[in-house]
Amino acid sequence: MSGPAFDAVIATIAIPAAAAAILAVVPSWRLATRLNVIASVLTIAAACLLLWHRPAPTALFLIDDLNIVFLLLNGFVGCTTSLFSAGYIAHELQTGHLTPRYLRFYHAMYQVMMVGMNLALITDNLGLMWFGVELATLSTVMMVGIYRTPASIEASWKYLILGSVGIALALFGTILVYLAARPVLGIGMAAMQWTNLRHHAAALDPALLDVGFIFLLIGYGTKAGLVPMHAWLPDAHAEGPTPISAVLSGLLLNVALYAILRFKMVLAMSHATIEPGILLIGVGLLSLFFAALMLYRRRDIKRLFAYSSIEHMGIIAFAFGIGGPLGNIAGLLQMMMHSLTKSAIFFSVGHIAQAKGTQKIAAITGLTTSHPLLGWTLVAGVAAIAGLPPFGIFTSEFLLITSTFARAPLLAVLLGFGILLAFGALLLRMTGLCFGEPSAGSYPVSASSVPIVLHLGVVLLIGLAMPAFLYAWFAHVATMLG
């Protein structure tokens, strides 16, 4: 056990945990926003250390090529969101939407959420993984309801109830997997350890794994916003503070999908009779089409992009369902690109909603004239999320469609049609929002463009020329996923 490397694993959860405790008592909100940023920077620094010092797996923690990608992504988006959040909440305080007391709570919960997500990512123990997802869910529930308007309480109540049922079903699935592993791996912790499960997958009871996976897919799928378990997602995104919409879409959905992937990897090595791939393809296509159609009748700007998140989760689930080296690479790339792009869009949208004093799409027009920076970054963001070249999502969607054509042409046609459907809706809304005569009514905002430009820059860079090491890394993880 090398000292510094081991510490870095613990640090990815210890730093946010300590920060949460401190932020809960810091009275000054200015200091709190800075501490929040510092803690986020330290967390990603710890995650970066893991790139050089890969620690040996322990009974509780495991760092492998799969989760380190997500850990870094989590750290990065967590960091930029804390920057965005600093400017955002200053405006919310001025307009009286939030009071300093609630901000203390907000910052503490932000770090608790990071603890939960990082714990779910780095742990090798399926029980702890479940606990991490629950922790992240609970803390975001609290933040969604922080405005205490009827609509936001409605949204957080719906999120709480649906999320709780989801995590309850995921736990039942975990219990079934434990029951399948117990005869082989013995009683106790060993039978909850993912590494052991994967290693001995062929000996596990296939029937229990089958049923267990279905519960896990429904349970964690609820958290990932897959249709038909998505009902909480648009409300939570629309009614909560915008930084939270950014991390919900950018990170929490990914973490839930990551949990499903871990179980899929176990099933791939076992004699289980159900095909996780086919289930994922089905749920993915359903989510894609449902969300694409719903995009057309959105009137609320945050809700619009929330449905776009459901659409992308559908595409990602589809990609991992198709599987194979190319399908998995496309899925991983899409996950990364979607996180970065969608959080950048929410950063813009947050400032736009503050500048216009409304979230209604009809009341926002001509942004490129009235707020050039926000308007043009939104144009770039929507172009990226809709899958236009030269952005990274174009690369991953192109890869996915071509690799699907080689294996199941009919599915590729369906996928392409769904993507086009969503594309049309997004472009339609974007032209309305960004071009034409600027609508009346505009408040000054001090928008910080750094996080937005940083995110979109990375997406553009990967779309133009994916670095060779990144591709090699994805290719390696893709073979792990099977």
């Binding site: 609970l138 109830i161 736990l171 029937a207 089958d210 809700r303």
Partner: protein, 225 residues
């Protein structure tokens, strides 16, 4: 440990207690007054406490006594008292809930229990007898809890449904012999429930989360045309 586990009496008692939990779940389905829903919920927690306590005894797993104690103290006493106070404070203690056709709900419940028996007894065919029956009955309790949440619109009834669902999970976890983290998970769930109850109390949530009546929701969403 094995001589206790293989004894038929120990198994029968475990099954009787788990079966009793399913029965109490059914009782909850046909209560139309909030106060009686809460009373049945307390009974549910008592039965769960006994079932988990018995598992702790036959598995020689002293940690499970904590889970049992939590069920008896927190879920059977503290939460029902808090819910009774909420109901009184909101002035809805006399309210009769429009439960859409009790006979239909009961039929649905019977169907769900049959489904979980068929599925779980077949899938867990190779697991030991204790786990097999236990998981099948636990899944019944979980599904009945979900049915309760779907058929009710009042926030308090939905909490009752969620708690009974969660009791089913604890039953399954306790029955899976030697499952790690059961105690921690039951504590985590208790914290979650405490949060839900406090949330309802603070924000005076009465009737929420009815996805059926979407016109009312659209007004909230600012999406009504």
């Amino acid at each position: 440990m094995d001589h206790v586990l293989s004894s038929a009496t120990a198994l029968s008692i475990a099954h009787v207690l788990a079966g009793a939990l399913v029965l109490v779940s059914f009782m909850m389905l046909y209560q139309d007054r909030l106060s009686s829903v809460i009373n049945v919920l307390a009974l549910h927690a008592v039965v769960l406490g006994c079932a988990v306590g018995w598992q702790a005894y036959i598995q020689h797993a002293p940690a499970l006594y904590i889970t049992a104690g939590l069920a008896l103290g927190f879920k059977a006493l503290v939460i029902p008292i808090a819910l009774h106070r909420i109901v009184e404070r909101f002035g809805i203690h006399r309210e009769v809930e429009a439960v859409g056709g009790i006979s239909l709900t009961m039929l649905g419940g019977i169907g769900l229990v049959a489904l979980s028996m068929v599925v779980m007894l077949r899938t867990a065919a190779h697991a030991d007898a204790l786990a097999r029956e236990d998981v099948a009955l636990a899944l019944s309790v979980i599904l009945l809890g979900m049915l309760m949440m779907v058929t009710r619109r009042n926030a308090v009834s939905q909490i009752a449904g969620f708690m009974s669902l969660e009791n089913g999970l604890i039953l399954a976890a306790a029955g899976a012999q030697g499952m790690p983290l059961v105690v921690e998970i039951s504590v985590a769930f208790s914290v979650l429930i405490a949060f839900i109850v406090i949330g309802v109390f603070l924000f005076r949530i009465r009737e929420r989360f009815d996805t059926v009546d979407s016109t009312a929701l659209d007004a909230f969403r600012g999406e009504a045309s």
